[in-house]
Structure formats: C-alpha cells, structure tokens
Symmetry: C2
C-alpha cells in the first residue's frame, strides 16, 4: 500500500464532467489499495471571474479580502470532487487548507507555508477515506485565511507529500510531462523520463510553463520526488528528483525559447563607477524583474562611455522605460533603445558541468544558420542567448538537433 498525493489543476477540474474523470482516476488508484490525497485548484475561469468582480468594486482591493474571496474557488472544487468520488462509491471527504492543517505566515495573496500538521488527514486516511484538500490556501496561526500565490496548488501538493512522507507525488496537468523542447516548435522533441530539480528550476525560469520555481525549490529542499503527467491519458510522465550520477551522461536536458522578453539599451553611458548600480536599483524599486544584463566595453571616445543592455518581461517594458527616462539627467546617457523583437534561447543540463565546449557548440550552431547573438548569459547548468525573435523557432530547432537529435 502506497500513499500517493495527486494534484489536479484548473483545466482538469474545469466542469462537472471533468471532475468526474478525475474521480475515476483517483478511484482506480484506490482500487489498487493505495491511500490517496487529492489536491485541486479552482475550476478554470473561476478565479479570474472573482478577481473581475472585485476589481469592478475597487481597482486595488485589500489583499486580506482577496484571500477570503479567492479561497472560495478551491473550496468549491474540493466539495464537488468529494461528491464525484462518493458517486463512484468511494468514501471521500473534503478539507479546506485550514482544516488540512496548512499553517502559513500572514503575507496575504503570497503566503509562505510555515508548517503542516497532517494529523487530521492521517486520521481520515486511516478510516479509509480519500482526502480532498483545497490547493493554494492555508490559514495563519490566528485563523486568517491566506493564499499561496501563483502555482500555489502545486506547492500545496508537494508540501503535503513532504509532511505525509508520501511514496509518490503526481502533478497532473494538460501536458504529458517535461519535454526536451516545446513539441509544437520542435517536432522531434522527446518527453524526458526524468530531470533533476536544478534543471527543472532553470527551465521554469526560462519560459517553460510547466511549474513555478517555488514549488520545485520546495520539493528540492525537502527531497520530494514528484511526477509531472497528463490528466488526459495514462502515459507515464516525467520524474523530477535529485541529480543522479547517470544524469551527467546527458549533456543537455532541454532547450527552451522565451518569446516574452524585451531588451532596453542605454546608449553611451558615461563610464564611471556606480552608474550600473543606480540603474538597477531604480529598476528593482519599481518591482521590475531583470533577466539578462550586458555591459559592452567602452567605445574609446574622448570621454569613456559604454552601452548597458538588459532584458525584462515585455509587460514591464513601458514601466522600465519610464524609470530609465527619469534617470537621464542624473546619468547623462545619450538615448534609450527598446527592442521587443528578441527571443531568449536557452540550453539546460547538469551534464554541462563535466562537458566543456557546450556553449561554443551552441554559438557555432547559431552561426551556421546565420543567427546573430545579441546577449549571452550563463549559469553552471545553463546557457542563454538573446537573438532575433523572428529567427527564434528556427534557431531552437537547430540547437535541439545539434544536442538532442
């Protein structure tokens, strides 16, 4: 008998019909003799609709009340899921985050899990119940309802798997698992049977939208092995786990393309100490995430000057530009150039560490198809380049071909 934690996202529980399908899958595991804890998200569309109503009343509603409001979404799903299991003759009971013993800090709309007391869940499992837990939510020590922010239901599932010492944690989604590249762009992309936490983290940060980084970080911290798999079929998914020696044999685990980046370049910035600090402090204070930063060498003019480029999410481009413009007098650069037509192409793999020449091979591949590299940034297990967006998909296919066949 295994203890399995399963998590189903919003599209998997989008309507009563799909909830019935989820119940069938859960019932099949239980019929094999497993104990099952099910974590569900709000039915897709529900959360957006609640947010819309709140904004009709007030553009920036209080975060405490948003948590009170949004937590109803998951509460609706757990009740319907429990009913669907009961309809199949399977004993099932729903628990809110609070009832499940999920205690968080008091940072509304983005709370952190402080601890989990799964006493209630254990007792119910021992009674033979399937336990359905509301994802994305918890409660402070003082009894305030909180939510965990984006990707919160994944976090609930992984945290419960850790607290319950579950044998398996399955994250059901609408894709079959983690691929070497997006199969819609790279037809030869393959599903990975396994991937390390670190590789998954890099991919999460690179536009591969399977999971939020914080859930992967939590799983890594507590050593929770989880499987990303589809709720639409029975194919095995991708196991995400600690790096094993065999993983280093594969040089590159995957290739990703982030089309959602934009580049800002400050042209002819006076080359004196503290200028970069000034720029990126102001950007950070405006809550804008910066990804790649490149400072080119000086141009050898009479007064030394340099160009500073950085990338950010397209959505933040206008805001970032305003911040930079407000610094013009203080810094004295010549102009700002915004470029929305960039794509960030990345290769990820722990095997890079023991295989020198990976970056060179990537650059060479791009050169062969005439793609110019605008920026480069690397980590121990990743190489990213900013390139012309129009050539992004072609470049992705070429790089995938070069490393992964």
């Amino acid at each position: 008998m295994s203890l399995i934690v399963q998590k189903y996202g919003g599209t998997s529980v989008a309507n009563p019909e799909r909830i019935k399908n989820v119940a069938k899958r859960v019932a099949a595991y239980r019929a094999k003799g497993d104990q099952v804890v099910v974590v569900v998200s709000a039915m897709s569309g529900v959360t957006d609709n609640l947010i819309k109503m709140a904004r009709e009343i007030m553009p920036l509603p209080s975060e405490r009340e948003m948590d009170m409001l949004l937590s109803t979404g998951e509460q609706t799903t757990i009740a319907l899921t429990a009913i669907a299991l009961q309809a199949l003759g399977v004993p099932a009971i729903s628990l809110t985050g609070a009832q499940a013993g999920i205690v968080t800090d008091g940072v509304h709309t983005n709370a952190k899990i402080k601890n989990i007391t799964p006493k209630q869940i254990r007792a119910l499992l021992d009674q033979g119940q399937v336990v359905i837990v509301a994802g994305f939510q918890g409660q402070t020590m003082e009894g305030q309802i909180t939510t965990l922010g984006r990707g919160g239901s994944d976090l609930t599932a992984i945290a419960l798997a850790a607290a319950l010492k579950a044998d398996l944690c399955q994250i059901y989604t609408d894709v079959d698992g983690v691929y070497t590249a997006d199969p819609r762009i790279v037809p030869t992309a393959r599903k990975l049977p396994e991937i390390s936490y670190d590789e998954m983290l890099e991919l999460a940060g690179l536009g591969a939208k399977v999971m939020q980084s914080r859930s992967v970080e939590f799983a890594k911290k507590f050593g929770v092995i989880f499987e990303v798999r589809s709720s639409l079929n029975d194919n095995p998914g991708t196991l995400v786990k600690e790096e094993t020696p065999s993983m280093e044999g594969v040089v590159i685990r995957g290739v990703s393309l982030d089309k959602n980046q934009a580049k800002l370049t400050l042209v002819q910035v006076p080359d004196r100490p503290g200028v970069a600090a000034l720029v990126f402090k102001a950007i950070a204070e405006a809550n804008i995430n910066v990804d790649m930063i490149v400072q080119n060498i000086s141009h050898g003019l009479a007064s030394p000057a340099t160009d500073i480029s950085f990338t950010t999410d397209k959505a933040d481009l206008l805001k970032a530009r305003k911040v930079i413009d407000s610094l013009k007098d203080k810094i004295g650069f010549r102009e700002v150039i915004a470029d929305e037509n960039i794509g960030k192409l990345s290769i990820v793999g722990v095997g890079m560490r023991s295989n020198p020449g990976v970056a060179a091979k990537m650059f060479e591949t791009l050169a062969q198809i005439g793609v110019n590299i605008a920026m480069i940034s690397t980590s121990e297990i990743k190489v990213s380049v900013a390139i012309d967006l129009a050539k992004g998909e072609e470049a992705m296919r070429a790089v995938h071909q070069a490393f992964l066949g």
Copy 2:
C-alpha cells in the same frame, strides 16, 4: 452610539453594483457614529448554480459536502462587501461563520446554532471596523463547516443581534416591510409600523414569504426586536417585537392568501378508531407536511362512514396521493379526490383573543360575495379557510375591506 446588525439578502447583493449600494447604506449608518455588523447572503443565483453542478455529478450529494460547497456563496459576498466598504474609505473586515464564532450542531444542511462567541466581532468593532459576517453558515465544535438551512441568513443576523445585545437588528429585503395584505392583490393594503412575534409567525406559516418561522421564533425566544425594511429605499419598515397591550386594540393585523395548497379527500372511510392515525402517520413518514385537516360527520349509511380531507403543498400532492393509494386495501375507503384549485385565506391578529365574533364576520363577508367555504381551521390568533382558488383574490379583497378598510 448604537450597535446595529444589518442583514442583506441575495437580491440586495446580486452583483458588484448592488454590493456598492449596500456599502453606501452601511457607510451612512457608520457616519452617524453607529457600530455596524453586516450579515450577507450569497449573491442571488450563486447557490442555485452550485446546487446544479453538484446534482450534475450526483442526484443526492452528501450533506456534509453540500455545506462545504454552499458556504462558499456567502464567503464570496462578505469579501466583496468588505472591499466595497474599503473603497468608500470605511475600515471593514469580513468573517466567515466560523471566524465570527458561530457554533452549530452537526446536522449538515440544517444545523442549529448552539452558541455564539462574539469575542472576535467585539474586538474588531472596538477597533473601528465594520464587521461583515457570512450568513447561513457556522462551524461545529470539531471544525466542520455547516449551513443553517432555508432563511439561515436571517437567523444569523438575529442570533448575532442577541449575542451582541445589539440596539437594533435590520433585515433588508426587497419589500418595504410587512403589509396588511399583498399589495399586488389588495391595492388598499397598508404597511404595518409594528407586528408581534406571534402574528409574524402565523403570517410566515400562511404563505406571506417575508421570513421563515424559525428566525422569528429565535427572535421571540431571545427578545430580539428587528425591523423588516427595503434595501431599495429609505422608508421605515415594520418592527417585529413582543406583543404590547396597544396591539390588542387592532383586531386583525393582516390577511394572507396561500395559493400553493392542494386538498385530498378520502371518500367514505369506515368510521372506526385508528383510521385517521393510520393515514397521517403514513403521510408524516413520507415527510409530507399537512396543514388543515377536516373530518366530516358520518353520512348515516348502513355501515358508519366518514370523509377525511386534508391540505398539503401542491408540490407534495402526487407523493401524498401515492401514500394514500397504498393504504386503500388496509383502510377500505371508496375513492380519493384531489383538488388543486383551492386557496387558503387567513386572517391574523392578537386582537382576536379579546374580540369575539371575528370568525363569524369573516364567514359572513365570504357568504355575501358568494364564496363557499370548504374547510376551516383556527388558532388563538388566526382563522384560515380553504376556498375556491378562482375566487381567492376577490375574497381576500373583501375580507381586507371588512376588517382593515
């Protein structure tokens, strides 16, 4: 400074626009220096939609899970109402039934309030907050979410008013208050400035749909004076309170017409002891509410026989008929006649007690306009008659005219 408990029903909070209107009204009271506790129902339509989804999954879903499901409706409204008050610059905070300290028994979907610990509400009021409480819901001592059944939000408001020793409890609805008769039928009907608990209870049981009996009973038990008034205007409503000597001066407080009754007659029932018991025990076991019962005198046939008639809700007619048919062999009556074309016309007033001849005057009035009386039932403060449905409204106007002008 007064402490006011206000309750707003589903139509008063049906959409963000109406919730804003509720907030304006609450803010106006608070601007006068009052402390305000607001109890809200689910937005109209929301509960029905949740029930529909559950039934799509299972015709008779578990009551524990229905409570988990339906309690989200009020939780949504409290958050939006708190946001609407904050948008007006009024400090406001929402509380679920559990957070408000409403402890119930464990009878899911129809729980009884066991006690209320309003410590949290008091503390928040003392901080200057308007406190928004989810109606219709509570929590057992063991932390299970429960709902209070039909009219539950009224009950929450009245119970909170009792627990907080509120100076005033206002039940906002879509009518101006309690009328001497339904103004859509009787154009001369007047709004009552006050009415006794007992009169209100009789009216609640007679098809006047302002409030459920149990809320009025609770108010009577704990001496909570409450006002029924409209959320659409600023007209004073109707105060519901303990009977005062002056109330006896008015013979009849109101006239009501229940069009939703049906009559079943068992013809030629053998007149022997225990037959009526047999009939109504079977009816009760089928969970059918019986209202009026009349047993006519024997017809003087060879073997003594009698007719038994009773009324029930139209919705229960078929079910009741089946129960009666199943008894035919056992009892040996000749036939069953069902009549859906009856109306129950009632007059209510505590003044009846000290004014003999009220019933006679009602019967006389009906005789004058040629209305035949099929059944009669009376209580200390009420006279009801079953009459031809087609003549119901005309009869109501005539009786209203005779007693109330």
